[in-house]
Symmetry: C2
């Protein structure tokens, strides 16, 4: 008698927490910190707020072992979490506010929740969270997760008046290993500060060391806007849902109202190719007609590329500013390419080079402003720098004192893992990334040539 069962999303990621980056105490400490900090930053710069984020990690009880209990406290001045949504936001996998077509660090609806889940199963201590959306009321919750059923368990809920604070503060206790993860965690913060020059961040580590990153610019880049789907990203499921929910009276107006880059003229052309009556009621569309509309959209070549207002690149100026602030290099050059797209999802590639003080090529990868520190060899950037681009052509040796920075931002970064460790080599992305790298490397080689020339002249 074979037994079948269903498991919930939280159960699945409890069983396979390594898929989400919680494979062992050292890695889990890193992942919990990054997930909470990225949530805090999203809650700030996603809404035009200059971030002030405090991260304090302490040993809760001294122990001779490296693996021990740590408390992670993360506090921000972001938009806060509405109290009626908070338990699910942090206590349910696949629940969140970032499932929209808009760039944000978060995307899967589970990172914060996984941190709380891991904390709970290793220490049995609940999440403690304070949040105020700026309405004068701070809500305090003690939460645990019902892992088998993927729902929050509210152990405590209090609210109190607090007029001058808006933001979120989270406290979790988990089994970690700072000895094995401190280098990565500290490097994460340095790289984060480099790419978030408008943020104040303070990291107080378990050894009492304080890493303070003060903002060097006082303006947040313009936050992105949510956009409608692009016709190149449509499939049958998406169109079926659009039709089901649409209040449009005709197929013509449905296309115009539901997709970006589709005006009246374009919509009429599409429907002509699909052989569908523009005045038909959407509810009367047959599946075969929907298929023909999709195929027409697939083959149609005259759409404008996706609207990039859903993206928020850092930009040449801020990237160079961040690099100067953190690394103070002799030479720096950054660029931000024009928007491109893959499968209807817009993306922008940014890149930079800087001279370094120590030898050895150092690659800093970013995606949606998140520093990626793991699985470098699997990333499209590594593939380009090791197989596609001949560094010698740019006068770059193996131990060149150079920093190469890459950033891809998109409404859907093509991560290959739920732990957001590396980016897949999608053809359009690889092409854009290659062009960006070639350009910045060329600028670096010009700097090197000029430098050599000057030094040669000095010797004369």
């Amino acid at each position: 008698m074979i037994s079948f069962k269903e498991i919930s999303p939280s159960e699945f990621f409890y069983q396979h927490r390594e898929l989400a980056g919680f494979s062992n105490p050292a890695r889990a400490l890193y992942s919990a910190i990054r997930e909470l900090v990225e949530n805090s930053l999203d809650a700030c710069d996603g809404y035009g707020i200059l971030p002030d984020v405090l991260i304090r990690v302490t040993e809760t009880k001294p122990s001779p072992s490296d693996v021990k209990e740590f408390e992670i406290y993360v506090k921000d001045n972001g938009i806060g979490i509405p109290s009626e949504k908070l338990p699910k936001a942090l206590g349910k996998v696949f629940y969140g506010s970032k499932f929209t077509l808009k760039q944000s660090r978060g995307t899967f609806g589970m990172g914060g929740t996984m941190s709380i889940l891991y904390a709970q199963i290793t220490t049995n201590k609940p999440l403690r969270v304070w949040s105020n959306t700026g309405n004068g009321e701070t809500h305090y919750f003690e939460l645990m997760i019902d892992i088998e059923n993927n729902k929050p368990i509210v152990l405590k809920h209090k609210k109190f008046s607090q007029q001058n604070w808006r933001g979120t503060a989270i406290k979790i206790n988990l089994l970690g290993d700072y000895v094995r993860s401190s280098q990565k965690i500290q490097e994460y913060f340095r790289r984060l500060a480099l790419f978030t020059p408008y943020a104040n961040m303070v990291f107080e580590d378990p050894n009492g060391e304080v890493f303070a990153f003060k903002r060097s610019v006082d303006k947040v880049p313009p936050p992105p806007h949510e956009v409608q789907p692009h016709p190149k990203g449509v499939d049958l499921e998406l169109l079926r849902r659009i039709v089901q929910r649409s209040s449009s009276k005709t197929v013509l107006s449905l296309l115009i109202n539901s997709f970006q880059r589709v005006g009246r003229k374009t919509a009429l052309e599409i429907l002509k190719i699909a052989n569908v009556d523009p005045n038909k009621r959407p509810s009367e569309l047959k599946m075969e007609e929907m298929m023909r509309i999709i195929n027409a959209m697939k083959t149609y070549e005259k759409f404008l590329p996706p609207d990039p207002s859903c993206l928020s690149p850092l930009g040449k100026e801020l990237i160079e500013e961040g690099i100067k602030k953190e690394l103070n290099p002799q030479f720096v050059y950054a660029l931000s390419r024009k928007p491109s797209s893959y499968e209807g999802y817009p993306f922008i590639v940014e890149a930079a080079v800087a001279s370094n003080k120590t030898p050895g090529i150092k690659v800093l990868r970013y995606a949606n402003r998140i520093p990626l520190l793991y699985d470098e060899k699997s990333d499209v950037v590594f593939k380009l720098l090791n197989e596609e681009i001949d560094l010698k052509r740019y006068k770059i040796n193996e131990d060149e004192p150079i920093i190469i920075l890459t950033h891809i931002c998109s409404t859907k970064v093509p991560y290959k893992t739920v732990g957001k460790e590396f980016v897949a080599d999608i053809p359009e992305v690889e092409k854009e990334m290659k062009l960006a790298l070639q350009k910045v490397l060329r600028e670096y080689s010009l700097f090197i040539s000029k430098k050599v020339k000057i030094e040669t002249q000095k010797k004369k």
Copy 2:
């Protein structure tokens, strides 16, 4: 007004189907074929049945484009799917029969479902499936998936008498690209046949080419048995559930009955370390006491290693047989290491070398008998062969005509992705894999020395 929402598991993997290996038509064709074939093989050798599997892939309508509709038909003689479970088995993500502590190819409860989902969104055609569990009744279903709600939609269900068949036959229509995936698909079948010498498999490809693999051995390796968790794999959530469901009268008997490798003496020692009364009723255990039991189990050093009866390695004999059948090499040597474990999950590493007819080191990676063909550079085996093991010490050059085979089988293969593409470098796994590789490479270098000696003598 920020809008929050929940998405279902099928919705999540619809949005992020690249995480499951369905990133584009070429890759999706490969993934659908492999997921269905692996389900068929599990349904056979997991139950001691000699597999007979037919895979027929046809173009449903001719088209000048490479990307077009294909029909995939997979038929097996396995144990079948009970009719009352079938709609959910194939129409619901995170539903299946393989969530147990027993080796099988399937593990996530979603591979077959994802193939049907991808087929549905690219062609709108339902899954057609016939299944008979050997009770004389074949059930026929036409199914689609309600993606937003993660549940099956039964469009049709018929049953008819069929006395002489047991097994499952699945037919799906999906958008694929055989031009871009044929090499990988054909290589997948060759490698699968090599590692499944007891299976009859026929692959009829869209060009009418027939790849027939006849079994060369008539015995299936003994199927694995489900086992209880090992104390080294316990965490608070697991213990809490065991306590909640246990009908044991005392904590002492709960430990003995719920865990493998825990007898009376061991259980008493554990409870002594944890300072918990052995005669206490499980329902009266406080959380702090459970934590102490967990910590005691973590630090206890005298457990026997995990019971490997939940594993089913192929074994030296069958591996060499499979290699000889497929490759007919001059030299072959395989080994199967003793069981090991990581985090309470037992695993066995197997490895083999064979001389090849063409130059160039060829690495064949397997996990739970599945050939892994993607993301080689991210796999622990690649790391070992490129960074940890000096191939020159074994007289192996870059273009050596050698085949190196690795296999890890476990109740939990440490995959890093839901698409089962590559294995993480868990320390215990890396150590075992390294020892296995060093041993087989040493055997190969002995063969090479002997060969050189013979040829030198011939020349004299």
